[in-house]
C-alpha cells in the first residue's frame, strides 16, 4: 500500500538548521535561497515524493512542520 503525503512548514518560525534534510528518506526538502523575517534560510519542499512518514517533523527542534498523509 502506498501513501502520499504533504508537509506544511511554518517558514517564519523555521531556523534553517537542516536537520530535517538529513532525516527525509525521499529527499523532498531543501533550504530555500530566500530568508524569513529572522534572516534564516527556511526549508521548503522541492518535489512531490513525500510519503508522509513524518521523519522531518519528528526531528525538527522547533516543531514547525505539520504532516498530512493519504492512502493512494
Amino acid at each position: 500500500m502506498a501513501f502520499k503525503g504533504q508537509i506544511v512548514i511554518d517558514t517564519e518560525h523555521c531556523k534553517g538548521c537542516g536537520v530535517c534534510l538529513e532525516a527525509c528518506p525521499m529527499h523532498c526538502i531543501e533550504l530555500s535561497k530566500n530568508v524569513n523575517g529572522k534572516g534564516y534560510n527556511y526549508t521548503h519542499v522541492v518535489n512531490e515524493n513525500c510519503i508522509g512518514c513524518a521523519s522531518c517533523a519528528i526531528v525538527c527542534p522547533d516543531g514547525v512542520i505539520s504532516v498530512y498523509k493519504v492512502k493512494c
Binding site: C17, V19, E22, E48, D62, I65, S66, Y68
Partner: protein, 274 residues
Amino acid sequence: MANDIVKPENLVYTKTKVLTDNVMHYCPGCGHGTAHRIIAEVIDEMGIQDKTVGVSPVGCSVMAYNYFDVDFQEAAHGRAPAVATAIKRLNPDLFVFTYQGDGDLAAIGTAETIHAANRGENITMVFINNGIYGMTGGQMAPTTLVGMKSATTPYGRRVDLNGYPLRITELLATLPGTYYVTRQSVHTPANVRKAKAAMRKAFENQKLGKGLSFVEIVSSCNSGWKMTPVQANKWMEENMFPNYPLGDIKVDGKIAEGITADRLVVSNPLTVVK
C-alpha cells in the same frame, strides 16, 4: 493536488498543544527543542497537563517555562531536584519533572542530584548532556570529553590537568534510590522515538512510587562546538556516543541486561577526541 491532502482529517503529525507558540530562543538545530517536544507529547498523551509541574534550571533551558503550557517553577542554579522534592512531597498526586543541563545537574547541582536520587524521590529528572557550558560561551563542563576543545580548554581537555569526564548517569544507576535510568539521544527520527518511549516510562513510573526516574539525553551544542547542526550531530555520533553509550542502564530497579560492572565503574574514558 495540494488541497486534496492538506485537510484536518489527514493530519498525522503537528506540534502538540502542550507547547506554547512562543519561538524558542535556542540556536538552530539545538536538541533542547526536540527534548521539549517529546516531554510535551508524553504529557499530552498521558492527559496530565493540569497535574504536571516542571522545574527549570539555570543554563540554556532557563526559560523552559516559556515553552511548556504547564505549571513551572524556576530553581536556583543546580537546585532543581531539591525544589522538585518539595513540590512532590507536598503534592504527591502531581507529576513533577526537572529539566537540567550538564552544568546545572552534574557540576553545581551534584549534591542535590545525588541526594535526591539516593533518597529515591518519586520524580522524573531529564538531563541534557552536550559536554559543554552552552549558555555562558562554551566553557569546559564536567562532561567534556578528554581531548575536546572548549573555551577554557583550547588545546583539548587534559586528564592530568582537568580530570576525567563525569558519567553521572552510570553513577546514579548504582544508587538504590533510582528506579529507571536511561540514556537517549534526539538527533535522528529513530532515536527521537526511542527517547519518547523512555520519557513515557519515566513519567509512568511516578504512579508506581518506587523511586527516581532519570533520563539523560545526549545532545549537540553546535554553537559551542563551532559546527553546523548536521556536522555537530555526526561529531556527536563519532565522539560522544563511545563515551556516553545509549540505552537503558537500569530498568525497574534492576541493572539492565548487558550492563556489566566494568561499564558502571570504569574509570578511564573509552575514547579521546583528536
